[in-house]
């Protein structure tokens, strides 16, 4: 290969974009409503970024001159860092804004911030907020393409995409797999995005958890509900654990952490019901000894928790790349 020729890895994202597969949204606010083709497109592009990242190369010209603002109304280290890294690897100017939600007038802050962002000529806006639907509201008011980095108990689309990419790389496919999502479904935006993505892509999705943490009519989302881990995990190809927040115990939805661990915490005994090669996933941060046993979380043969983090950067690069060319911004 001649020296002037770009490395194939460098070309892959560009070729994929020219393939004519469209992502038809201006924003990424939710997985719900996306078509399998759109999800597949984002995953294919992310796959190419995994290779690019592993090759040690960057694509710093892609988002050169573009401004990416990480607007976090809720504390987050890993998601914010992941978006920051993704933006920088593509050459964007990345700005992190943390806005305290402790002030009384949260909504005022949200729309005032939107006005400020418009004045700053922000191109890509990554938002995390403790209220469901806050990114939707913001998307109505800002010019930028909005990426939901987690809103209340609604959705966390990039988490579902990175989970799907991790599964696809390990299992070679997504369609037809049996996936058990376990724990606090009611308060989990990760669970919602994963349910939408995995059912859209043709998985058999189960949710497993205590009845007080399974929201109303969950079965209508196209999943099967279990309260018993042994039954819910039987034959599963992937076991996704969710974080249990301590406040659930204060609110009386769970009597105690040890009771929770006894019935819904993932240990090797419960895991034995799943397929022998079942993957273990967790969006992090983990509560070891509450929803997951350390021996399982650190099992190098089964746990892909570390890999999820790597996929996170690639998926976010793919999302930023795609939205920067989206219907609202055809100037590339």
């Amino acid at each position: 290969m001649g020296r002037s020729m770009p490395h194939p890895v460098d070309l892959w994202p560009v070729l994929l974009q020219r393939r004519g597969v469209f992502y038809a949204q201006k924003h990424l606010l939710a997985i719900e409503g996306l078509h399998p083709g759109e999800i597949g497109h984002l995953l294919d592009l992310a796959e190419s970024y995994v290779l690019l990242n592993r090759s040690g190369k960057t694509q710093r010209d892609l988002l050169r001159g573009r401004t990416l603002i990480n607007l976090f109304f809720e504390d987050s280290t890993r998601t914010r860092t992941s978006f920051e890294l993704a933006g920088k690897r593509l050459g964007a100017d990345v700005i992190n804004m943390s806005v305290s939600t402790s002030s009384v007038n949260k909504g005022e802050t949200l729309l005032d911030t939107a006005t400020t962002l418009n004045a700053m000529q922000c191109d890509l806006l990554v938002v995390r907020h403790d209220q469901s639907g806050a990114p939707n509201l913001l998307a109505q008011k800002v010019d930028a393409a909005v990426i939901n980095a987690g809103d209340g108990t609604h959705e966390h689309p990039t988490q579902a995409l990175l989970d799907a990419l991790t599964i696809r790389r390990r299992k070679g496919r997504i369609a037809g797999l049996t996936i058990a999502i376990c724990g606090d479904i009611a308060h989990s935006r990760v669970a919602r995005s994963n349910i939408h993505l995995l059912t859209t892509m043709g998985c058999e999705v189960r949710v497993v958890g205590p009845p007080t943490l399974i929201p109303a009519e969950t079965a209508d989302l196209g999943v099967t509900v279990f309260h018993d881990m042994a039954k819910g995990l039987a034959g599963a190809d992937v076991v996704m654990m969710l974080r249990l927040q301590r406040e659930r115990m204060n609110k009386g939805q769970i009597p105690s952490a040890r009771e929770y661990f006894r019935f819904w915490g993932l240990d090797h005994q419960k895991l034995a019901h799943a397929q022998d090669d079942a993957l273990i996933m967790h969006p992090g941060p983990m509560n070891r000894g509450v929803e997951i046993d350390s021996a399982v979380a650190d099992d190098p043969d089964r746990s892909v928790i570390r890999e999820q983090v790597e996929m996170g950067v690639a998926v976010r690069m793919a999302v930023l790349d795609t939205l920067s060319r989206g219907p609202g911004r055809n100037d590339l």
Binding site: K106, Q131, S132, G133, R192, A216, L221
Partner: protein, 423 residues
């Protein structure tokens, strides 16, 4: 003394009255009506071929921004919206700032209504001081001052003991208790009806059972005390079944609903549309249909606007933080008529639900067409179309959940005590 007004060629429609002919207003009263009443000298003639002349609407549940929330609605702006909506009598909720828990405030509201010249305001008294749900307000003094009934407005009386005392005590003054039927601990933090949709949107839900549980409890308490309970804005079929049975058992139970609950369902929330955030929340389609059935079969005694004025800033918030409530004065008649046009409710029944039904519950003078009755009238074209547009509604409050809804039924004139106040 105002001159006489004669309506010609109109369909005169009210509880027990349905004829095509003429109606004469003299000295603020209905002087005569019939196939032909003759034109006195100097009378203003209103020729309105094909229009319907009904009693001015009686809205038994509306929140006014005054006192305390003038940025949302003033009595003057509410009166303008009411007149445009054909409403001439309105029962005002007491959960204002300050709450209507003192006789002087009852007088104030009545007087402010008289000052509008277009709207009779019938104040509700607070059941508890400050509508805080703790100790009982001075129900006797409030009643003496003219409170039409007692309620804590958009707040449920959660304590069974307090409700028992209130029903019993108010009954001694011949007044009913109007309950916002929602079990508070089940509804706490809820923002949408509990359903697959709320689950998908990640919104904490309020189960339909929260309404039924409160209705069941209070019917039993009404039976225990002999008091009269009225349930506001019924939104579920389950609650209507309980009310139907309570009525059959001879218990003093009545109820109303509001247009959103028979015209919209939970899907109006779409992607976090806060204008469709109401209290109680919009329910499932099966509940909406049950409410329509309750209107047709007589289980529901009245249709109220459930007007809850909100400022844009109250609504431009993430869904859970946005204030619940919709503007309803200008759309009360139009949305009700939509369900006449689609064959769900007979026109006569709809008019009763908007006029004599609530008037009886409030012991109000309006809501009827009779010789010597006050000439509070609403003239409308049932088939003329219009489109609801937030931002273009009469009055200050623009937070309609019906934004974009096409309606048939336009008020072309409203008369209060013989004076034309709209159209």
């Amino acid at each position: 003394m105002t001159s006489d007004t004669l309506f010609r060629g109109v369909r005169i429609l009210a509880d027990g009255v349905d004829l095509v002919g003429e109606l004469l207003i003299r000295d603020g009263l209905i002087a005569d009506f019939g196939a032909a009443v003759g034109k006195p000298d100097g009378a203003t003639v209103i020729e309105a071929e094909g229009a319907i002349l009904a009693p001015g609407l009686v809205d038994m549940r509306a929140a006014l921004g005054e006192p305390g929330f003038e940025y949302r609605e003033t009595i003057a702006s509410a009166a303008a919206a009411a007149a445009a909506g054909g409403i001439t009598t309105l029962a005002a909720l007491p959960d204002t700032q300050p709450a209507i828990d003192d006789a002087a405030l009852v007088h104030l509201l009545k007087t402010r209504g008289e000052q509008t010249g277009s709207l009779t305001i019938l104040p509700y008294g607070a059941v508890t001081r400050g509508c805080r749900g703790e100790e009982m307000a001075e129900l006797g003094l409030l009643r003496e001052a003219g409170a039409v009934a007692f309620t804590d407005g958009a707040r449920a009386i959660g304590s069974a003991r307090l409700m028992r005392l209130a029903l019993s005590y108010a009954n001694g003054f011949g007044a009913r208790i109007v309950q916002h039927p929602e079990e508070p601990t089940l509804a706490a933090n809820g923002t949408a009806t509990e359903s697959a949709q709320a689950t998908r949107l990640g919104l904490p839900g309020i189960p339909a059972a929260a309404e039924a549980i409160m209705v069941a409890r209070d019917i039993r308490l009404a039976q225990l005390t002999g008091g009269a309970v009225h349930f506001a804005h019924i939104s579920t079929g389950e609650a209507l079944d309980l009310i139907r049975r309570g009525k059959d058992a001879g218990i003093k139970v009545t109820c109303d609903t509001a247009p959103p609950y028979f015209d919209l369902n939970e899907t109006a929330i779409g992607n976090f549309r806060t204008y469709a955030k109401l209290s109680p929340p919009l329910r499932k389609e099966s509940d909406r249909r049950a409410v329509v059935a309750g209107l047709a079969d007589g289980t529901i005694d009245a249709i109220a606007s459930d007007h809850q004025p909100r400022d844009a800033d109250d609504k431009r918030l993430p869904f859970a933080l946005a204030s619940a409530g919709g503007a309803g004065l200008a759309t009360l008649l139009g949305v009700t008529l939509a369900h006449v046009h689609n064959g769900s409710i007979p026109l006569e029944r709809a008019i009763t639900l908007l006029t004599s039904g609530p008037a009886s519950l409030l012991d109000a003078a309006g809501g009827r067409i009779a010789k010597g009755a006050p000439a509070d009238l609403c003239l409308f074209q049932a088939e003329r179309i219009w489109k609801v547009a937030a931002g273009h509604l009469p009055g200050k409050a623009q937070n309609t959940p019906f934004d974009g809804r096409a309606l048939e039924g336009v008020v072309i004139g409203t008369w209060k005590a013989g004076n034309r106040v709209f159209g």
